[in-house]
Symmetry: C2
Subunit: 382 residues, 2 copies
């Protein structure tokens, strides 16, 4: 007898202030929260084998609907048995709805009440994404966690613009909800919009809660408003979300962003920052951000981060990593991506342990203190 | 008590016709022969972590003196504790002398009786490589196997040109021999030149044997003369080399080249072919050469090579590899390099087992038969 597949859910194991430590139950295995999801845009976390991603401690990865619908196509991925098999990731996968990338990458995009029509940035072919099609694509990809289609309200937006955009996203959320086919251990998340306006955020959270989702994302942040505003919007939004469902802050962020958002009750994150930075030579470490291209690392015999167990830190001196970037060797991006993802996973694991042990604030302060006053460190956001 | 470091040597375990199965003893561990060395030009086998290189079965890798002397510099590598530690390869490393790359990559190169003066292709700085400096650089890199400086005689060359070039290489071999500092388990190899002229090859082999080297390389082949000529030159050269020393065919080659050269008594090989081909989407398999960029692989759900245990073959369908190359994802080159190196290592291991079991000819014929008549296969050399 096989055990029945688990129902999707988020069990809170401990809280410390607003911060939560939990476990997501999914059809593809459990995930401890707070969790950072590496971004596997086109069916691969860039510069990493699936085994390497697992070795960083990651248990949940993100795939991009926009990229996969265009190439190789959702139906094609389905014929290969879904994204899990295609990319060798049997664990849980969250897919975005495609809406954000359509608006940032596609050509000649035209938004209407029913969806968005656009031309592929690859070949110019015309495509249309509607709430129903976004859900269908994610079903074909076999996403463990499906995101409702929304419009990411641009920043800045007037209150009237933000309200209209949010209302559209709420109608699309309802349509997404109708189309989604529930399966045990699979989930559909709604996305709160409302820009920087607390009343709109509260209204959006209320609208989604009325519809009822398996989890709630906060969208439309980290798009230029600055960290203080991001945190203020979280303060105005999170209390309106159901405590028994996971909360996902989309597209965030720096290590500092993650700490601040976990402190405000966020459970899930994704961001290209650690992978993109790794490809350009920037390393997130317990002593701050380093740019390995800098000449001062050429003769540096120390490990990149003595507190890190990744191959970049345990096998090579900093001078080797510098050499790889100077010589344009693929191993540079490979090793630094591996390191940055390991740092992000270690950071989340450390935050979780601190929540469980009731010392979150002290731990967060100690982590932040490690970043400051280091002569080599660079601004985190640069 | 520690055991004393092993003396460098090549113990022949079995022969089958002219083919030999042996074990190289080195200061950095044993290596079964015949052996294929992945090329780690600038201190990294391109697109591979050192762990991944080990996972392919490789035990001996090659580093390029020319690249490393220019960047990061031999003295800099020495300050990091040598190339083994720098690139995380505690096993044996063979370095070339730099001569071949100077003539193919450097700008404004000027050859004289004492060496070659050239401008770096990186920054235009003037450098000089002499037999003594080539040996010193390889000492600084801590190469397990050092190669004497030679001139790779261009093809085609008249007999007079080839003779003069070979004589220069023999003088440089003597100077290299004088400079090399013997250490237990370390080796210096001489390089036979003489173009396609049997008498020159025999004279070169005799000159080197009189000087006495730990191993003998055959250089100046696989530079446009064609496989039949390569093999004919081997037939005219190998009998003049000491049977108790390892024989190394430099810069070779395709799987077919390797089989033919092993049949003629060659023990060691290096070539960029499997790594370079992997980066462009070409896969060496038991069923021949495939170009994964080809559209017919887009929907192919089969493993790349069902006889291969590498991650590309065991974790993903061919259609995924095709997708990675179409999407310009780094994981495509990473996985296909891993596969090609695994194929080359498996090929050599299979040849060795067949030699030990006295069935080399039948095994070689069976391997070759696997490549032919496959509808998907492409010309091996393309």
């Amino acid at each position: 007898m096989h055990a029945p597949p688990p129902l999707f859910g988020h069990r809170i194991a401990a809280t410390d202030g607003a911060a939560r430590a939990g476990v997501l139950a999914t059809a593809h295995g459990p995930v401890e929260t707070p969790v950072f999801m590496p971004v596997g845009t086109a069916g691969t976390v860039k510069a990493m084998t699936a085994d390497a991603v697992r070795a960083t401690g990651a248990r949940l990865v993100l795939g991009n609907t926009y990229h996969l619908m265009l190439r190789p196509g959702a139906e094609q991925v389905a014929r290969f048995g879904g994204l899990h098999r295609f990319m060798d990731w049997p664990g849980p996968i969250l897919t975005d709805s495609g809406g954000f990338q359509v608006m940032s990458l596609a050509k000649l995009r035209k938004l209407d009440a029913g969806g968005v029509t656009f031309q592929s940035h690859l070949d110019g072919a015309t495509h249309r994404l509607t709430p129903a099609r976004a859900i269908e694509i994610q079903h074909l990809l076999d996403a463990t966690i499906t995101m409702a289609l929304d419009e990411c309200t641009p920043f800045p937006a007037s209150k009237a613009e933000a309200s209209a955009s949010m209302e559209l996203s709420m109608r699309w959320a309802a349509l997404s909800r109708e189309t989604f086919v529930p399966r045990p251990g699979y989930a559909l998340f709604g996305i709160v919009q409302g820009s920087v306006y607390p009343a709109l955020r509260a209204a959006s959270a209320a609208a989604l809660t009325r519809l009822g989702f398996d989890g709630y994302a906060v969208g439309g942040l980290a798009i230029g408003e600055g960290q203080a505003t991001t945190f203020a919007v979280l303060d105005a939004t999170v209390p309106h979300l159901p405590a028994d469902r996971p909360r996902y802050l989309m597209g965030v962020g720096t290590p500092s962003d993650l700490i601040g958002a976990v402190a405000r009750g966020i459970d899930m994150f994704d961001c290209v920052m650690p992978t993109r930075a790794g490809r350009t030579g920037r390393a997130y470490t317990s002593a701050g951000v380093f740019n390995l291209r800098n000449a001062r690392f050429a003769t540096d015999d120390r490990p990149l981060d003595p507190h890190c167990a990744c191959p970049a830190c345990t096998r090579h001196p900093r001078g080797y990593l510098h050499h790889l970037f100077k010589a344009d060797e693929m191993l540079g991006p490979m090793l630094l991506t591996w390191h940055n993802l390991t740092y992000y996973q270690d950071l989340m694991r450390g935050l979780r342990a601190a929540i469980v042990e009731g010392r979150f604030a002290a731990h967060a302060a100690a982590v932040r203190a490690g970043w400051t006053g280091q002569p080599d460190a660079e601004p985190e956001e640069a």
